[in-house]
């Protein structure tokens, strides 16, 4: 026997219900606070503790900032103006910012590094952004020589011959590379070196052709020095890292082992040791009388250091690519260089962006280590001339805060750019 299910009453709605405002506890601030700050007892305790911590931090920091003294002759003057109250002596920043940014670069020619800095933006634009006209890349290639001339000064012939040597090397390379890569590579390097050696005789005589007043390397310092080291070393260590990463994957044992030994050695040594080597030890190995600029030595060391790290980051990217990508490139008849340039590296570098940026940001901040080998970079100039001056000894927080701000602006910018770039390159997502 079957029992019929209770018949559901027929129902038709003729008037749609108008939407009503939700109960107060379900909207706006109250709901958000309840869900995010006081969802449970431990969460509530943490919220209260965090608010207390923020309060006690700000209750010290805000008076210190707002009571700050912005114009004073010296730290003693500051203390007199404050009369025992808590407050920062920001006058120190106003009095020393030129030193912090430019080091002991001659005052009257600040326009030269400033111009170089502005042009840096122009030179980087086509590299960083796809929609900038490609023709600007020619300027990017010229930029290192222009910037060198602006910052160090001297005869225009020096950067011009350097540039001509590079161009000559490239021409020789592109002629010989048809026959074999090794021949092109070494042929290019040798011809550039020979050109530089020969032109050295001419340039050595003519020191006044379109000369800007020469600035000694030891006068270049402050944040400018950090920027120079950071930009140059990042730009150089990326190609070095790519070469090392590819070399480490090479099927040729000698190349592979050279790369492995280089990477492992450099990664196994603290940067500070390499800098000491650059500063002191390297001089013993160079022929007496060679004037091998300290900045150049430091750039070589930092580049090697960062290159080894970047190589390992890129190796991770290369390893993450499926084997099928190599096989597809091979099966289409692309040669090694084409496969790497067109297929493998664009994908591997994209995967490696966060890691590369991580190394780049770290490297940029590590440039302050040169203060240990008594170069007057931003940290060096603060620890040395500024803090030991009679006027501003003891104003640690204010000047180091300023230094931190400068570094933060640059590093945060790099980080934001890399996130933007990752979004731009995300084509393989569904």
């Amino acid at each position: 026997m079957t029992t019929s299910a209770p018949r559901s009453p027929a129902f038709v709605r003729h008037e749609p219900l108008p939407p009503q405002a939700p109960p107060v506890a379900e909207t706006g601030m109250i709901k958000w606070v309840r869900e995010n700050l006081f969802s449970s007892i431990p969460n509530g305790i943490l919220t209260v503790a965090a608010i207390w911590a923020i309060y006690s931090l700000l209750s010290v920091l805000l008076p210190w900032i707002f009571n700050g003294v912005w114009s004073a002759e010296s730290v003693r003057d500051c203390n007199e103006q404050l009369a025992g109250a808590s407050g920062g002596c920001f006058a120190a920043i106003g009095a020393t910012w030129r030193q912090m940014v430019f080091g002991i670069y001659p005052n009257d020619i600040y326009w030269r590094p400033v111009t170089a800095f502005v042009l840096l933006g122009v030179a980087f634009a086509p590299v960083l952004f796809q929609n900038v006209p490609r023709k600007l890349l020619y300027f990017t290639l010229l930029y290192p020589f222009v910037a060198y001339w602006l910052v160090w000064g001297g005869s225009l012939l020096v950067p011009v011959t350097a540039l001509l040597g590079v161009v000559l090397g490239y021409v020789v390379y592109s002629r010989l590379v048809e026959q074999s890569f090794a021949m092109g590579f070494f042929g290019g390097i040798v011809s550039a070196l020979v050109f530089w050696w020969l032109s050295g005789f001419v340039v050595g005589e003519e020191t006044n052709v379109l000369a800007l007043s020469q600035v000694e390397t030891r006068n270049i310092g402050g944040f400018m020095l950090n920027m120079i080291l950071g930009v140059v070393c990042v730009s150089l260590s990326l190609p070095l890292g790519i070469v090392l990463a590819l070399g480490r994957q090479s099927s040729m044992p000698i190349i592979k082992w050279i790369c492995v030994v280089f990477i492992e050695f450099v990664r196994g040594v603290p940067l500070i040791t390499l800098l000491f080597v650059a500063n002191v030890v390297l001089a013993y190995f160079l022929p007496p009388g060679t004037n091998f600029d300290l900045i150049l030595r430091v750039i070589i060391m930092i580049t090697m250091f960062a290159g080894a790290y970047i190589a390992e980051v890129i190796r991770g990217g290369l390893a993450a690519l499926p084997r099928g990508q190599y096989e597809a490139a091979d099966s289409l008849g692309l040669d090694y260089a084409q496969a790497m340039r067109l297929i493998i590296l664009p994908q591997a570098l994209k995967i490696s962006i966060p890691g590369i940026v991580n190394v780049a940001v770290g490297l940029f901040k590590d440039t302050t280590l040169v203060s240990v080998i008594s170069m007057f970079d931003l940290v060096g100039i603060i620890r040395g001339p500024i803090l030991s001056s009679t006027e501003w000894s003891g104003v640690y927080w204010e000047v180091f805060g300023f230094a931190a701000l400068l570094f933060f602006i640059v590093c945060y910018g790099i980080s934001q750019y890399s996130q933007w770039l990752e979004r731009q390159l995300a084509t393989d997502r569904q």
Partner: protein
């Protein structure tokens, strides 16, 4: 491309010429101590459509991957289009540009659009002007029936569409021989036929094809020779009618009963 609904009769099938396209003699390959391919002898004539089947691990993929030197063989000779494979990289690149390959997992380049996938090799290997390469690419994309996807990226396409792009990408190099390495094994069932239709169309145009596949319907329809491999050896080869209707070796009978049995 004339893709008819009915299978062409054997009499209508494109002529197989007596010109040798691939000549493999006494070829052996080892992975370490493991002997993957043993004494392979195989001559493929221009216009032949060969299906290679066999249980997994029998070396069938390895065999066709040796033909364009994705795998290196240690003994014997492989001659493709009159060029003997050697370890010389120029020689290998030449053969690879004449031999198209389609993979199980498509292996499209995810950072390039469909059109760029198809034009890359013609532009860089063949030095074709960009405009011309794009025209060729659109021609072949129309052949595989997805010209409207040209500006999309591989990740936006279905598996079947990706595999058809992969076929078009190979065809853009105007290869004289096409190798297919299990082209439908990674596809959802409803996408298999669209890829097979493309391959059938290609066969009808007289392309020399070597296909590693388990699609026995495809083998019956277009192959003029079926090769059965087991344990690194060619166990049996015959015309499809004979191969399926009257297998000779016990190993072949067992294999066929397993894959056709249900």
């Amino acid at each position: 491309m004339a893709m008819t609904d009915q299978a062409p009769d054997q009499t209508e099938a494109p002529k197989v010429s007596d010109e040798v396209a691939i000549d493999i003699r006494n070829m052996n390959k080892w992975y370490g101590a493991f002997h993957v391919l043993r004494d392979i002898d195989l001559t493929v004539y221009r216009g032949e459509r060969i299906v290679i089947c066999g249980p997994s691990g029998s070396g069938k993929s390895t065999l066709i991957r040796c033909i364009n030197a994705l795998e290196e063989h240690q003994k014997g000779t492989i001659e493709v289009d009159g060029t003997t494979l050697s370890s010389d990289i120029k020689n290998i690149d030449k053969i690879r540009s004449e031999v198209g390959m389609v993979f199980q997992h498509f292996n499209l380049f995810p950072h390039l659009s469909i059109l760029e996938n198809c034009t890359l090799a013609p532009i860089w290997v063949r030095k074709t002007p960009k405009r011309e390469a794009e025209e060729t690419a659109m021609h072949f994309l129309e052949k595989v029936k997805i010209p409207e996807q040209a500006d999309k990226y591989p990740g936006q396409l279905s598996g079947g569409q990706q595999q058809r792009v992969a076929i078009a990408r190979s065809l853009c190099m105007r290869p004289r021989i096409m190798l297919f390495d299990e082209p439908t094994s990674a596809l959802d069932p409803e996408m298999i036929s669209e890829v097979l239709d493309t391959m059938i169309g290609l066969a009808e145009e007289g392309m020399t094809m070597l296909c590693v596949t388990h699609e026995m319907g495809f083998a019956r329809k277009v192959a003029n020779r079926v090769i059965f491999m087991d344990a690194g050896q060619i166990v049996e080869q015959n015309e499809p009618e004979e191969f399926f209707g009257n297998p000779q070796s016990d190993r072949t009978k067992l294999f066929l009963s397993q894959i056709l049995g249900h």
